[in-house]
């Protein structure tokens, strides 16, 4: 990445972290952070934490927090794909658990908003432990895009 793009990239990252982590209580509670982004793509990371474990014998994170990670990442990818700020809502989200998650490792979700129509946005996503060729979950979601301007456009930090 050319260094001349970095100031702008940092500014986008700061705004994303304000809107998706700081301004969203549940994302904040999960300590989600922006791992990467580019047009139509967003990656968020969920750090490993003992209190998010679903099976204390294996130490693996609960599917529920992975659902929240994927939902948050898909929604963020949609927001980044819209030419004007709009309010959006998840219509549906399907998650396939293709491989067991590993204990004591953060989970990264990569989401790609591959199509935006007048009222609907379509997203594909995958969650992994750092190697995107080896996903633990794959997902697809659809979002409704409201035509009124989003009320919380200036989603500054809480």
């Amino acid at each position: 990445m050319a260094s001349s793009f970095l100031p702008q990239k940092d500014e986008i990252r700061r705004r994303l972290e304000g809107r998706y982590v700081g301004a969203v209580p549940h994302n904040l509670a999960l300590n989600l952070r922006v791992a990467d982004y580019r047009p139509e793509h967003l990656s968020l990371a969920l750090p490993y934490r003992e209190d998010l474990v679903g099976n204390p014998e294996t130490g693996v994170l609960h599917g529920g927090c992975i659902t929240s990670l994927i939902d948050a990442t898909c929604g963020g990818a949609v927001i980044m794909s819209l030419v004007a700020p709009r309010r959006i809502a998840t219509l549906d989200l399907r998650i396939d658990y293709v491989r067991p998650a590993l204990p004591h490792q953060e989970v990264i979700c990569d989401a790609h908003c591959y199509k935006v129509t007048r009222h609907v946005a379509f997203v594909k996503a995958a969650a992994h432990h750092g190697d995107d060729a080896s996903p633990i979950a794959t997902a697809s979601g659809t979002f409704v895009v409201f035509r009124d301007k989003r009320r919380d456009d200036d989603g500054s930090s809480a």
């Binding site: 209580p25 994302n27 509670a29 209190d51 529920g64 929240s68 939902d71 998650i95």
Partner: protein, 145 residues
């Protein structure tokens, strides 16, 4: 308490407390279950950290998915024959209404209960069970490797 022992204790008593205690994420989320007229009802106690949109305000969609997946697993454990925890193969969540900042309940039913795989439907609701805020379809693997 080990998960296996917690499952056995729940089967014995019909009190899901030990299972909630044994699963850290359910404590974090305030997710529990109880038997009501022989039916497993999941509950997610409202807490500020479950909010997804503070302006509306509405609960985070992921938390509704978490409640429905947990309720399906509680229901499968209650009706199951082994102490093994079912593994989620997939889950599809449909969001129907904004969920208000208050407690959410969930109910799960089998659409098919096979030997290897269970097909489950779940609905999550607040004031009125007939007006769910979200519904889900999920498949669970019941056999261990």
């Amino acid at each position: 308490m080990r998960l296996r022992d917690a499952v056995a204790a729940v089967r014995e008593s019909g009190d899901f407390g030990p299972l909630q205690e044994a699963i850290p994420y359910n404590r974090f989320m305030g997710i529990s279950a109880e038997l009501v007229d022989g039916e497993v009802i999941g509950t997610m106690r409202y807490s500020e950290h479950l909010v997804g949109n503070a302006n509306v305000p509405a609960l985070h969609g992921g938390t509704l998915g978490a409640l429905m997946e947990s309720t399906a697993i509680f229901m499968l454990l209650w009706h199951g024959e082994t102490e093994a925890v079912p593994k989620t193969i997939n889950i599809t969540v449909e969001y129907l209404r904004g969920a208000k900042p208050q407690d959410v309940f969930a109910k799960a039913v089998f659409t098919r209960h096979g030997r290897r795989v269970a097909n489950v439907r779940v609905s999550a609701y607040q004031d009125d069970p007939d007006k769910p805020v979200a519904v889900a379809t999920a498949h669970f693997l019941l056999v261990q490797d």
